[in-house]
Symmetry: C2
Subunit: 266 residues, 2 copies
DNA sequence: CGAATGCTTGAGCTTCATCAACTTCAGTGG
DNA sequence: CCACTGAAGTTGATGAAGCTCAAGCATTCG
């Protein structure tokens, strides 16, 4: 049986562990994703936790690439209903607005203090010329995001509340582990509230709370005041209704991506 | 008040109308999306309606680009629950597997007979060299898909069954109109069953049926044996809970994309 | 014309949302 | 170090939205 334990093993066998830095995510610079020469980038932008990086409806003509920190992509309806589309970690391409006049149709909010690299439209052509592979790499990153969105979509459409919450916790656990492998214990810091989880899974925060209560009672996982503890990894995979091979594919594709990113560095 | 009628007007003012071809979608070649020189493409692949183009779990190392026909991207759970992720129309990049060892995590089924262009991994490097902009263009197409997935996600997470169904019908209506503007009437052929609609919206086909019954009774829209009729466009926009400006943005971005695609042709 | 597929309807039930009140926690200034 | 405050989490009662099961009808296509 494949398990999160083998995930943990896989991570440590494939990676150098970076020095442990407590929960100081913000100090971690991206180790993957686009790495664009400063020539083509305007000054990195610093965003305070809780602030919006951009909002739906705004026009823009740049690529936004997350360098450090957590960002939530979300959309709002007029009546205030909110849907979180993605929790972005360093390396993510938050938005791709290739032409003037491109309109954002979602918003981005920093969950922690964050740094964002911005590549203006006007530099894009030159950049593509000088490094033809960058476009392909970009397409790869966005394509992976599309896959994530599709996974999320299946979850929302066809899973129960319980499965959805378990799925999200597991996804976040794995994604964090892959980026910050230094953290050994099964406990980690997530800069989220139960309301964030609700908005991501399409549930009310009240129902999320009840689901979490059950998972805690059953010794599967607990999430309390931004602290996630995986109590029984195998059962979590089971409850989330994930084919363990899929979890493995997440990891593999991530590793592949990292290798790519490194190959294309300059 | 912005309305679907203005959508229709907009389409006809921005486009040459192509000759009407009845419902013969399959004969329509893509007028947008990637247009890659034959040198870099292996033979186009023909898929019969109802057949799978690829399945989750398969490995591959190519770009699949839809040339003609309708394709549904979907994922399955072990117990048979199905989620349709996207209805792809000609021009869509169905999958992007940039390296050997990339694993598909969704499947693709042809809804009509379809043609798919395949660009093998091995040609990708040369292609990027000879046409540096192609990577950026690719990123743009996939990015637009990501946005669509995000819209879909909001719909699933935060809308009622009624809103979701209305939203999907509206989206399909607009997307079809943009590609086949020759069809004048408010009636069109969609190669879907109510079960497809259910699988796309996260509902049972039974509940979809009830929702459709209401929409029909209220004179909003009707969908019956693959025939969609929009009875009251403005009310449909209203029921779908879409900001009419957003509908406009769909159209604009589509037009922009088309201009782009044409600029990059060779 | 018959078979197969897709659509329709009803009854009963489950899951999750809503509303409202209350408790716990983390950060702040005294 | 404590008291205070606001944000986050917890709990219960109630009801609605949508699912399941089961049966029958309509449409398309060969």
């Amino acid at each position: 049986m494949l398990s999160l334990m083998s995930v943990a093993r896989k991570i440590s066998s494939n990676r150098q562990t970076s020095p442990v830095r407590g929960d100081d995510f913000d100090a971690d610079r991206a180790t993957r994703g686009l790495d664009i020469d400063d020539r083509y980038r305007s000054t990195d932008r610093q965003i305070k936790a809780g602030c919006d990086l951009f909002r739906a409806g705004e026009k823009g003509d740049a690529i936004y690439s997350l360098i450090s920190g957590w960002v939530a992509l979300y959309s709002l309806m007029e009546d205030g209903r909110r849907q979180i589309l993605q929790f972005a970690l360093p390396g993510a391409v938050l938005a791709f607005m290739p032409t003037q006049g491109s309109v954002m149709n979602y918003s981005a909010q920093a969950l922690t203090d964050a740094t964002v690299g911005i590549i203006p439209h006007s530099n894009l052509g030159r950049l593509a010329m000088s490094n033809p592979e960058i476009g392909i790499q970009l397409a790869g990153l966005i394509s992976q995001d599309r896959s994530f969105a599709y996974d999320h979509l299946s979850s929302m459409g066809r899973r129960s509340a319980r499965e959805r919450v378990a799925y999200l916790l597991l996804e976040l656990f794995i994604r964090c582990r892959l980026r910050w492998p230094g953290h050994r214990s099964e406990e980690m810091y997530l800069p989220l509230t139960q309301e964030h989880i609700g908005d991501a899974t399409g549930l009310t925060h009240i129902h999320v709370n009840r689901v979490l209560r059950n998972l805690r009672k059953e010794g599967v996982a607990e999430f309390h005041y931004r602290r996630l503890r995986i109590l029984n990894p195998d059962r979590l995979v089971d409850v989330a209704g994930i084919d363990p091979r899929v979890a493995m594919a997440w990891i593999d594709s991530d590793l592949l991506n990292e290798e790519n990113a490194q190959r294309f560095l300059y």
